[in-house]
């Protein structure tokens, strides 16, 4: 009775020793694709499906077509969160990136000898969680006893309300700048160090000054790193969540609310899962669109000459 199974077993073994090397790579990569399909692709399309419905999380869904999206276009709170998020993104590009570039240029220059102190010092904030980082700043920005206002008071300057409607976005940007400048310094340093020194030597032979060298060698050579930094900064800014939530709970009066905060509020606090999913898809389209524009502007799609 058992003989057929032995034969079968032999056949299986022979088959396996013949084809192990063909099958095994698929086995090795399959966990990723399984998890990716279940936990990313599936939810991505399910989000699209949900966004066409009204659903409080339980009970039947009601098909509303593009209703969520048209409502979104006229929702003043969403538009406010969109504006706030754009404000943070622009602020990140205006504050973090130039500051990081200047710091990287200084550290990389021959003027500075103790480079690693600065590299490591600037790097430390990125090690903190967004939660811990934001909590630290509650002591800095507090309207009554915050460190900044105490400092201003000692100079005889009246206190500013850093967490009120007018200034809260600046305060959020300050936290973000504090946390992310260092990592961008490192990115720029990596880029600067990969520029071949011969380029500068040749330029010096030709009599190019410091500014000309910066303008015609450093900046063009930094292009790939600048593209990377730009895309990462943009994607990060559009997914800002913890800082405005913990610093001011998205307020006051939604003044610091981001798209991600609003999505969370709709999806989890207000149980409007369809509406929240629509916000998510709009966010994805914005991020894809802006990434594409950045890649296009930097000529990433152009064929190498």
């Amino acid at each position: 009775m058992s003989s057929p199974s032995i034969v079968e077993d032999r056949g299986l073994r022979a088959w396996w020793s013949r084809s192990e090397r063909k099958v095994v790579p698929y086995v090795f990569i399959s966990p990723f694709y399984f998890l990716f399909i279940v936990f990313s692709v599936g939810p991505l399309f399910y989000a699209l499906y949900l966004s066409l419905h009204r659903w409080p999380g339980t009970g039947p869904m009601r098909y509303v077509g593009l209703g969520n999206y048209t409502y979104l276009a006229g929702d003043p709170v969403f538009l406010k969160s969109l504006w706030n998020t754009v404000y943070y993104a622009i602020g990140a590009f205006l504050f973090i990136l130039p500051l990081a570039l200047v710091l990287a240029l200084l550290i990389n220059s021959t003027l500075i000898r103790i480079k690693s102190l600065f590299r490591i010092g600037y790097f430390l904030p990125i090690l903190t969680s967004t939660v811990a980082a934001t909590i630290m700043f509650l002591l800095i920005f507090n309207n009554e006893f915050g460190l900044i206002n105490q400092g201003l008071a000692s100079l005889g300057i009246p206190a500013l309300k850093w967490l009120d409607e007018e200034l809260v976005k600046i305060s959020v940007l300050a936290v973000v700048t504090w946390r992310y400048t260092g990592i961008n310094v490192l990115y720029f340093l990596t880029g600067l160090q990969s520029i071949p020194p011969e380029l500068y030597e040749a330029a010096q032979v030709d009599g190019a000054g410091t500014w000309a060298q910066f303008r015609y060698i450093t900046l063009p050579q930094l292009r790939p790193i600048a593209l990377f930094v730009g895309v990462v900064t943009m994607i990060g800014s559009f997914q800002l969540f913890a800082e405005p939530m913990l610093l001011a709970n998205g307020g006051p009066n939604d003044a610091s609310l981001t798209i991600a905060n609003y999505l969370y509020r709709m999806g989890f606090t207000n149980a409007k899962l369809g509406y929240g999913s629509a916000i998510g898809w709009v966010l994805a389209l914005i991020i894809f669109g802006l990434s594409f524009i950045q890649l296009y502007l930097f000529g990433a799609f152009r064929k190498e000459d």
Binding site: E20, R21, K22, V24, P25, F28, F32, L35, F39, S40, P43, Y46, A47, L50, G57, L99, L103, L106, L111, I112, L117, F123, P125, I126, L127, T128, S129, T130, V131, I135, M136, F137, L138, L139, I140, F145, L147, G151, T181, L186, Y187, T190, S194, L227, F228, V229, V232, F241, A248, I259, A260, G267, L273, G276, S277, G280, L283, A284, I287, S291
Partner: protein
């Protein structure tokens, strides 16, 4: 003579700016540390004191007694360790396959892998949560860990270093009759140990600091991780500042120590994306 003077002035300005930035960045850390030793009334005082007038450890004690800090610390540590080892295993295994085998659809599958990094977290956030509920994984560590365990970045990163493993070594092991998995486990994996260390540091830090996903998955307090509990301690109207600062400080400590021990791996890990671009 004039030239050296200009250079000296330039150097002074450069150092001045770098140190000013460094001090500004250090201030929140120092201020937080100082305030963990203060009484609430001293924090509220209008005259800032860097050295607390009556330093005490009551905030730290309260953190452990009233907020079960140690339990949440262990929750975070458990999740981060399990995440790190599973991620390292899956990423190195898939990276090995992409680097050392040729198989149909390989290039297409690799493109899909790279494309997967484009999916924004918040877009899939709500349906992912619904899915985790349906799978019965809500309020469990599995629900926190599993969806993010096989990151595409890790596979991409491991593929790069696996490519340096010499093919002759693998072939000679095959002649000796080793299975493909054993070749991966006993030959390839030990050779890429430095890259594994870099990825481990990244994975651990990512998981340790993760906030939004554990926030929605972990419903009951005793399961919650440090960032979630700390966020819950923030109350804009009534809050024990000293205790919250102590929590913030202690939660940052493990990563800080890890960084001091493995500085090179941190810097390499966090800039690897930029280099590869």
């Amino acid at each position: 003579m004039d030239n050296t003077q200009t250079r000296r002035a330039q150097r002074a300005i450069a150092y001045g700016f770098l140190f000013f930035t460094l001090i500004s960045m250090a201030t929140p850390f120092v201020w937080m540390l100082s305030n963990t030793f203060k009484e609430q009334s001293e924090i509220f005082e209008r005259r800032p004191t860097l050295i607390p007038e009556e330093p005490h450890l009551r905030n730290y004690v309260s953190l452990f007694v009233d907020f079960d800090f140690h339990k949440h610390f262990l929750n975070s540590a458990f999740i981060a360790v399990v995440h790190t080892f599973s991620h390292l295993f899956l990423a190195s295994l898939a990276g090995f396959a992409f680097a050392k085998y040729n198989f149909p659809l390989k290039n297409f599958l690799f493109l899909v892998l790279l494309g997967s990094m484009m999916v924004p977290l918040y877009t899939i956030f709500i349906p992912l949560f619904v899915l985790v509920i349906r799978l019965g994984l809500v309020n469990s560590y599995a629900g926190v860990i599993i969806p993010g365990v096989a990151g595409a970045f890790g596979i991409f990163f491991m593929k790069q270093s696996m490519e340096a493993v010499p093919g002759e070594l693998l072939d000679s092991a095959r002649i000796d009759g080793a299975s493909e998995f054993r070749i991966y486990w006993q030959i390839a994996l030990p050779l890429v140990r430095p890259s594994l260390a870099v990825l481990a540091v990244l994975a651990f830090m990512g998981s340790w600091n993760d906030f939004v996903w554990p926030l929605v998955v972990l419903r009951s307090r005793e399961l919650q991780t440090l960032p979630v509990v700390m966020a819950g301690m923030v109350n804009l109207y009534r809050m024990e500042y000293g205790v919250v600062m102590a929590a913030s400080l202690l939660s940052t400590l493990p990563i800080l120590l890890l960084f001091l021990a493995l500085q090179k791996q941190f810097v390499q890990g966090l800039t690897v994306g930029a280099v590869k671009s």
